[in-house]
């Protein structure tokens, strides 16, 4: 037996799913959190039922890929659980009535009951049950209130007859139902609603959003640097004696010693330079990357649950039109700042192939994940703030220029933004920590094997001389175009496995500051890590992935080569300025997203 949880986006299906099955899934406060369906099992009265969390959909006439999944799944389900946002009964009932036409056993869950009460909305559950002839329950998905009767109601629900209606008739029926069961009482504007209006204010909204995002990243980076200092000390106290003991057991030399521990420097271990699996590998993953990951998801999780992301999408809509996208693309991009894999997965929420293609490419090419960012901050940051600024400014220029180029070349159209803006909700601390733990666990499971494996591979390649050989092979590009020493090739090889491990490999080479910036930029752009590449391949298919790779390599050559040329002429500060000027000029030259005939300007008013 299959139980389907189905409903509009952002009504809390995933929270109910977690409660029913005990499987943890990501919940947050923006439409489109769930892009793939998730399966779980519910055991009730000794019987096992399959529960499926279907991505949210407004209608059963699919256009976005995530909505198509929903429409196909309804056919297969045995019992439908329609989750409804009680604060938006009228709109949600549209889907409910469409589902009723399937004439399958169905339960209606009025979720967010608390919110509705706060907003002065009263719904007569008994009357609704009578009108729809299906069981109706009122719940609060986040706390789990009212959910204990759901399994029983699911199983006991029976098929009901419902006649097919046209959409106009359906809205009429909905109107009748709503007037009968819903009772609104007046209430005053709350503080949170004031904030809500302020964040989309025509004038205050944009600066507030940019300020907030800047503050968020500043906070992550500053606090990260502070934490890494402590983890370094902790490693020295706790971990160093163990490594020294292991080293003495292994005899201080030999192949296994250099693979596991690397070059020891007396009793003080240089964790970043030692290059052993147990020294550098473990330290990079746990000592440097982990603190940043924790901080990032702490901040990001808060903004996500508060409901700020859709507002960022609205504010950046106009700017993103310049690169052929609309505001919603900002959500995959922000997710990619944590890890590119969920970022690429989230492109499914975008409507057209063109949007998906452009977003996927610029996301995987120019956005470094948090693990990589943390090491960039460490490796480049210690050379001076201006170099760090140059690195990120260069990545941003590639983002903008590549986007404008793709907008002009990729066929298809970009639909206008149409997005439900969820109300702000105060994040629940318990859920916040659960989500954070889930993400950290995922990082530990995914990242550590790759980091350790990557360092192991590079050690083998070093010993066998492959690196020297490949370095010679690519020397014209690496030396000639980028102006980097041949040894950098080791980092570029590992970069295809894991980018954070690759940045570490740059440190012992002895690059000067400008070379470091070029190396880091090249490393970010040239190819995604293997995990991202796999998802990219799955989402885009063979042909588009090949195009994507070609574009990435071209962008790398242009950006790396360009920086190498500019470094001889200008100082880093001036290069930043040059890049900024180029972006501004290009964005003015390349016409805006709207076709000329629909451009509305003040002097074009026709007034009687």
């Amino acid at each position: 037996m299959k139980i389907l949880l189905i409903g509009n986006p952002n009504v809390g299906k995933s929270a109910i799913f977690s409660h029913l099955t005990g499987v943890s899934v990501t919940t947050s406060n923006y439409p489109g959190t769930t892009v793939q369906y998730t399966k779980g099992y519910l055991t009730y009265n000794g019987k096992k039922y399959e529960v499926i969390d279907v991505p949210g959909t407004y209608q059963l006439n699919p256009e976005a890929e995530s909505e198509k999944v929903a429409a196909d799944m309804v056919e297969e389900g045995d019992i439908l659980v329609n989750v409804v946002d009680s604060t938006n009964l009228e709109r949600n009932l549209n889907l409910t009535l469409q589902l009723m036409e399937y004439e399958k056993p169905m339960v209606l869950v009025l979720n967010m009951w608390d919110d509705a009460k706060h907003k002065g909305i009263e719904i007569d559950v008994g009357k609704l049950e009578k009108l729809l002839k299906i069981p109706v329950i009122a719940t609060n998905g986040l706390t789990g209130e009212g959910l204990n009767t759901l399994p029983e109601k699911c199983i006991s629900s029976k098929q009901t007859k419902w006649h097919k209606q046209s959409s106009a008739q359906r809205w009429k029926t909905i109107g009748n139902i709503v007037t009968e069961v819903q009772n609104l009482s007046h209430r005053h504007h709350t503080f949170i609603e004031g904030l809500q209006d302020l964040s989309i204010h025509p004038f205050f909204g944009p600066p507030a959003a940019l300020g907030l995002l800047y503050l968020a990243f500043k906070l992550i980076i500053t606090a990260g640097e502070f934490l890494v200092e402590y983890t370094t000390r902790l490693f020295d106290i706790v971990y160093t004696p163990f490594i020294l003991w292991l080293s003495s057991i292994l005899g201080g030399q030999g192949l296994i010693h250099s693979l596991l521990i690397g070059d020891l420097n007396g009793s003080q271990i240089d964790y970043e330079g030692a290059m052993g699996v147990l020294t550098t590998g473990v330290f990079v993953a746990l000592g440097i990357v982990l603190p940043y990951i924790i901080l990032f998801y702490l901040v990001f999780g808060f903004l996500e649950d508060l409901g700020y992301l859709p507002r960022v999408a609205i504010i950046l809509d106009r700017a993103l039109h310049k690169i052929g996208l609309h505001g919603y693309s900002v959500i995959p991009m922000l997710l990619a700042c944590g890890c590119n894999v969920p970022g690429v997965l989230a492109i499914r929420n975008l409507g057209t192939r063109r949007e998906r293609f452009i977003t996927a490419i610029i996301t995987c090419t120019t956005i470094p994940c948090m693990a990589q960012t943390s090491l960039i901050v460490k490796a480049v940051g210690e050379r001076g703030g201006v170099y760090l600024a140059l690195t990120f400014m260069t990545l941003f220029s590639v983002w903008a220029i590549l986007g404008m180029f793709l907008k002009k070349t990729v066929k298809g159209n970009t639909p206008t933004l149409l997005l439900e803006v969820p109300p702000y909700r105060v994040p629940n601390i318990k859920i916040q920590f659960k989500k954070l733990w889930m993400r950290i666990k995922c990082f530990l499971k995914e990242a550590i094997p790759y980091v350790l494996g990557g360092i192991l591979i590079i050690n083998f390649l070093h010993v066998s001389g492959v690196i020297a050989w490949v370095g010679k092979l690519f020397s014209p590009i690496i030396k000639g175009v980028f102006g980097l020493p041949e040894e950098t090739v080791a980092a570029l090889i590992i970069g295809t496995v894991r980018k954070d491990a690759a940045v570490v490999l740059l440190e012992p080479i002895g690059l000067n500051s400008m070379q470091m910036v070029i190396a880091v930029v090249v490393l970010t752009l040239y190819f995604p890590c293997v995990a991202t590449f796999t998802v990219l391949f799955k989402e885009l298919g063979m042909k588009d992935t090949a195009k994507a790779v070609a574009i990435m390599l071209a962008a790398t050559l242009a950006a790396g080569g360009g920086l190498n040329l500019l470094k001889n002429i200008y100082s880093p500060g001036v290069i930043i300025f040059v890049e900024l000027v180029v972006i501004v000029i290009l964005s003015l030259v390349i016409p805006s997203a709207f076709k000329p005939e629909s451009k509305v300007t003040k002097d074009k008013f026709y007034k009687y």
């Binding site: 938006n88 959409s167 989309i200 859709p310 206008t416 709207f594 629909s598 026709y606 009687y608």
Partner: protein, 118 residues
């Protein structure tokens, strides 16, 4: 499609008091050529409405896909909406319908017509 000056003046003179946007004017003429006059009441494009104004949607000039997407979110001919905000520089328009807030890109908002409550 070119608009002849005569066509323009006819349309403007038969809809006194209405502020025309370039695209809206073209749409009206297009409809007139097809023989349907949609400008029977005083209407404004959603993008031209003032913030905090209420109104009732009277026409949506778009394909079936766009109408369906809007309808699913509760914006259809006859629904009462309030314009909450419009970001500067042709940014998205934010309206509230019932208890939901919906952001609509500027292009789409200029094709939704509203009878404004004064």
């Amino acid at each position: 499609m070119g608009i002849s000056p005569i066509e323009r003046s006819v349309i403007i003179n038969t809809n006194v008091g209405h502020i025309f946007f370039d695209d809206e004017l073209k749409m009206v003429i297009n409809n007139n050529r097809r023989g349907t006059n949609i400008m029977q009441k005083r209407r404004l494009a959603l993008s031209a409405m003032k913030n905090t104004q209420y109104g009732i949607v009277t026409a949506i000039n778009g394909g079936g896909g766009m109408c369906k997407r809007l309808e699913a979110l509760g914006i259809r001919v006859g629904s009462r909406i309030k314009k909450k905000s419009a970001l500067i520089g042709f940014g998205p328009v934010i309206v509230s319908v019932g208890n939901t807030e919906i952001a609509i890109g500027h292009g789409m908002a200029s094709r939704i017509f509203v009878e404004v409550e004064e």
